[in-house]
């Protein structure tokens, strides 16, 4: 298929990244930082790392993703640390596994900061151009396509060895606001209309998803006195493990909380026939987790009010984001509807709410490395893979970028499994399950949540980032040392005997803790809900001086020891079959005893491990036993 005229060739590089959103930027940096010549294409240089929806990074489980990305050597955490205007650790009243960081971003600064980083990274070139065609040669022996380059809108060709597709919501995008339909990407940006057909011509299966965003309003038209103020945390915790917390403590701006009411709902109900979703104009599948206000009113008819968060879009703009009220109703209805909300009676809408529809792939065509099964050298990440959210996009971009680079370097791909990170859960869910809506991360999707905390992302993934060439020796050494200090202190506390003596009993009494009947260990005392590591310093004479991040880990490891051990055991079981690899050329039709349904599913998903196979719906435990036995004979016969 790649019939290239010499005169069309503009450049020969290693990797082309298509799209410069949150996925594209991470992918491009991962490749360029590995010394590969990289071009990143965008329809508009001004929209690099754009945040076309909510003005924040992080939140429940998404905060985990950013932490993990940072541990692996990604950029998002560092950028938000430089550009946030409010920061909050969510769920602090709950267990450490679900603490999650969220920061309001100054959108424009965020974009500029990411652009600055891209522009100052060696081996990386930004190119403003729409890519319209993928170029690849078919190789009969492997029945696969091999990437040779991409073609842009004017016929120019960039030859390359690998491509990472990060087209976000731009492919054949259309925006809907009531009866008004425009064929643009988010924020009125140019849609990309050529590439879908090219992808389809290689047999890539596409589907259509939709999402939406609320209106932006002029802050001067909002009466904040009728709303509840939402302030940031007193002590700001950074996203990045490389950011010094002392350097980012600053004055923060507020967000505001108000509510819809029956009047709002009445207007919505009366105009449902003008909503493109309810009128059947929208064909794409929307996400259930960020429903439009129309959806909320229809599905939860018994609720007489819904929360509305007013969030600033930046320091140098008057625009405010109206969280909780995304909509695709027509402009006149939007004005009426928003004006029923206390504080918004006189609101002036700067940008209307709209729904957006776009092409994305069915992600079951990808390996967990985010490589296309049918290609050598083709990778993809972000909303293009059927996910939703800046953070979900960024982590996929990072993994796709890392593995594109490793493909060129002829190294094995890096895959994070479900027991190692939310990134692993996200990607495994995408490539193994039948996803019918844009996929969003949630902590409940992780079965080993207690182990995958945001506070220990560095301990879990720094080493992998080092292997990926994105973490420096110094950063790597730091985490190795940290791990050592944690382990030493935990075992010291577990062995440290505390007698039921006068000093101990007085200490316990002073902290409203029951007196000891017999001697115990320091670790046992720490397990009492009312006591902490810090308090116990009083009766702990041998305590070494440790940094705050080490102490945090010691605290958690001891306090939740029982639960953590249980999950660790589960992980051991999980790893047993996760580590059983399935050869790429396996022919399931040869495995006679497999049930027909199992054969079909396994052929479709072509899992890389028995573990992945076991998570495919329609593959039973008995099928897995059969598969294990088959593989045993397969490998033995090969020897």
């Amino acid at each position: 298929m790649s019939d290239i005229k010499i005169s069309d060739i503009r450049e020969e590089v290693d990797v082309c990244i298509i799209g410069a959103g949150h996925a594209g930027c991470e992918a491009a940096l991962a490749c360029a930082r590995n010394g590969l010549e990289t071009v990143i294409f965008t329809v508009s240089v001004d929209s690099i790392a754009l945040m076309p929806c909510n003005p924040n990074i992080g939140g429940s489980s998404k905060g985990h993703l950013v932490r993990e990305l940072d541990a692996m050597g990604g950029e998002m955490g560092k950028i938000i640390d430089k550009t946030f205007i409010q920061s909050k650790m969510l769920n602090v009243s709950k267990g450490p596994a679900v603490h999650s960081l969220r920061a309001q971003a100054d959108k424009q600064s965020y974009t500029m900061e990411m652009r600055r980083v891209l522009e100052n990274t060696d081996h990386l070139t930004i190119k403003q151009a729409e890519v319209t065609e993928l170029l690849a040669d078919y190789d009969e022996s492997s029945d696969k396509y091999m990437i040779t380059g991409v073609r842009i809108y004017n016929g120019g060709v960039y030859k390359c060895k690998a491509v990472v597709l990060c087209t976000g919501t731009y492919l054949n995008a259309r925006c809907l606001c009531g009866e008004s339909i425009t064929y643009t990407g988010p924020n009125g940006l140019q849609a990309a209309t050529g590439l879908t057909d090219s992808l389809k011509s290689y047999g890539i299966e596409m589907q259509r998803f939709k999402t939406g965003t609320p209106a932006r309003m002029d802050a001067r038209s909002i009466d904040f006195s009728k709303m509840e103020e939402q302030t940031g945390d007193e002590k700001i915790v950074p996203f990045s493990f490389s950011t010094n917390p002392d350097e980012i403590q600053k004055e923060q701006i507020s967000c505001w909380l108000t509510y819809t009411n029956e009047e709002t709902h009445e207007i919505i109900r009366a105009n449902l026939d003008r909503s493109p979703i309810y009128a059947g104009i929208i064909e794409g599948t929307g996400p259930r987790y960020c429903p439009s206000i129309e959806d909320k009113v229809v599905k939860f008819a018994d609720k007489n009010r819904h929360q509305v968060f007013i969030e600033p879009e930046g320091l140098n703009t008057n625009e405010m984001y109206v969280g909780g009220m995304s909509s695709s109703l027509p402009e006149d209805v939007q004005i009426k509807m928003y004006r029923t909300v206390p504080g918004l009676e006189n609101c002036k809408i700067v940008r209307n709410a709209y729904a957006i529809e776009y092409d994305c792939i069915k992600p079951d065509q990808l390996y967990p490395s985010l490589a296309f099964k049918k290609f050598d050298g083709l990778y993809s990440g972000g909303q293009f893979n059927g996910s939703s959210g800046y953070e979900e996009a960024a982590v996929q971009g990072l993994i796709a970028g890392i593995n594109a680079a490793r493909y060129i370097q002829e190294k094995d791909p890096i895959v994070i499994d479900r027991s190692e990170g939310y990134i692993g859960v996200l990607i495994d869910d995408l490539v193994t399950k039948d996803n019918r809506e844009p996929y969003r991360m949630m902590t409940s999707r992780s079965e080993y949540r207690l182990l995958l905390r945001q506070d220990n992302a560095d301990l879990r993934l720094r080493k992998l980032g080092y292997e990926a060439g994105l973490i420096s020796q110094q950063e790597y050494d730091y985490v190795v040392e940290k791990e050592k200090l944690i382990n030493e202190e935990v075992s010291r506390l577990q062995l440290f005997k505390v007698g039921a003596n006068k000093r101990t009993q007085e200490f316990l009494a002073a902290h409203d803790s029951a007196p000891l009947k017999t001697g115990t260990t320091m670790a046992e005392l720490m397990c009492r809900p009312e006591l902490t590591y810090e308090m116990l310093a009083e009766i702990d004479d041998e305590r070494p001086s440790l940094s705050a991040d080490v102490i945090e880990q010691v605290n958690i490891n001891i306090k939740y020891d029982g639960y953590i051990k249980r999950q660790q055991k589960q992980v051991e079981q999980f790893k047993k079959i996760e580590n059983k690899k399935i050869p790429e050329d396996i022919c399931y039709d040869d495995v006679n005893s497999l049930r027909l349904e199992a054969k079909q599913k396994l052929n479709k998903y072509r899992p890389v491990s028995v573990g992945q196979a076991s998570r495919i719906s329609g593959v039973s435990p008995a099928d897995i036993s059969v598969l294990l036995i088959y593989l045993e004979t397969y490998y033995k016969n090969k020897q």
Partner: protein, 464 residues
Amino acid sequence: MKSDTIAAVATALSNSGISIIRVSGEEAVNVVNSVFVSKSGKHILKNVKSHTIHYGFIYKNDEMIDEVMVSVMKAPKSFTMEDVVEINCHGGILVTKKILELVILQGARLAMPGEFTKRAFLNGRIDLTKAEAIMDLIEAKSDYALKSSAKQLKGVVYDKVKQLREKIIYEIAFIESAIDDPEHISLDGFYERLGQVTDEVLQEVDHLLEQSENGVLLKNGINTVIVGKPNAGKSSLLNRLVGEEKAIVTDVAGTTRDVLKETITLHGISLNLIDTAGIHETEDKVEKIGVDRAKDFAKDADLIVYVVDSSVPLDDSDDEIIDLIREKKTIVLLNKSDLSTVTDEVSISKKLAQGNKNICRMIKTSTKENVGIDEFEHTIKEMFFQGNISLEDEIYITNLRQKEYLYDTKNSLVLVKQSLADEMPEDFYSIDLMNAYTSLGLIIGEEVEDDLVQEIFSKFCMGK
């Protein structure tokens, strides 16, 4: 998390001779050691040599269950190449069951079909040429086990388990939505409510466990489906069997007007008799539903009684019936022997030649004159004792498996209560609640898939 040590009855579960309970895995010795007491009254197994056999007793707390011989084979010199302990007990279904259950309660897991052989193979004990046969065995047995387990549950038990699951998943979804969207959903007052719900569910699970002691979770008996064309004498057969002095165990009203169910006991064997609508081509909508249901029942039957009216010739409908029951153990009754014979064994055999290999017997009967019914009853008894139709093993194993899952559920709920008592943060409860939900799901043969995400989005309004 349970240790991955498995247990099962290695011999046929019957009232004869000696039974062997086999335990395999890392914890095998520990598990058996905790219930086995030597003649000198000690738990000795931890210190015995490999490949030795020991005389002693199995105890459940203070109650002596049986006098046994226990052999210990340590890895790798055993069938599975893991530590294996075999308990040779004095047979008898009751005793064997009790010992297996004890072993399960001590932390072994009930083996899945073919699992010992699978382990033996994966650990290199069996050579490669056997692989194919083992794979077939696993798939065939699992298919049967899967089909039998959920279906054998009594309707009320099934409904109860479903209801408990719904209760649990709602609470998990509540916790999870509050974690996911803390600014929209608050967990104020949740402690008290969850404590209450957990107690309620625990009580119900305990009740189910009590019932499982008596084996009443399951429909007992052999599903015996009577099929045939209309007017062949199916209903008269049922009436004959039920109406005489047979003990009617239960009297379940037909779930629909087209299917009638009766449970009877023949020579100590329970039969669930299911009388179906006559199978034939029909345009009548209501009748068609009956015919379709008859076909469904026939598919799930353990035993088919095919009633043929011997006074009329075979036709297309008979072809259809023969096709339907091809894979089934079947008794053919040549009914209406009091009338002149048009269809006999020979003509049936011809029809069947290309079809059913499972025909066990053909009997001439007259339900009207009560001819041949004794022979029919005797045949069933014979088939059962020869093992041609056997269900008791499966039923028992199913019951034990369900019981095991109920215990798992209970343990998880107890852990939830513990977390509540320890004032752990909310996200800790959902771990064990989810385990309870999963265990209950196994009882009714349902997987978890993405139930939770569904529940969160359908019950709680979240999002930006």
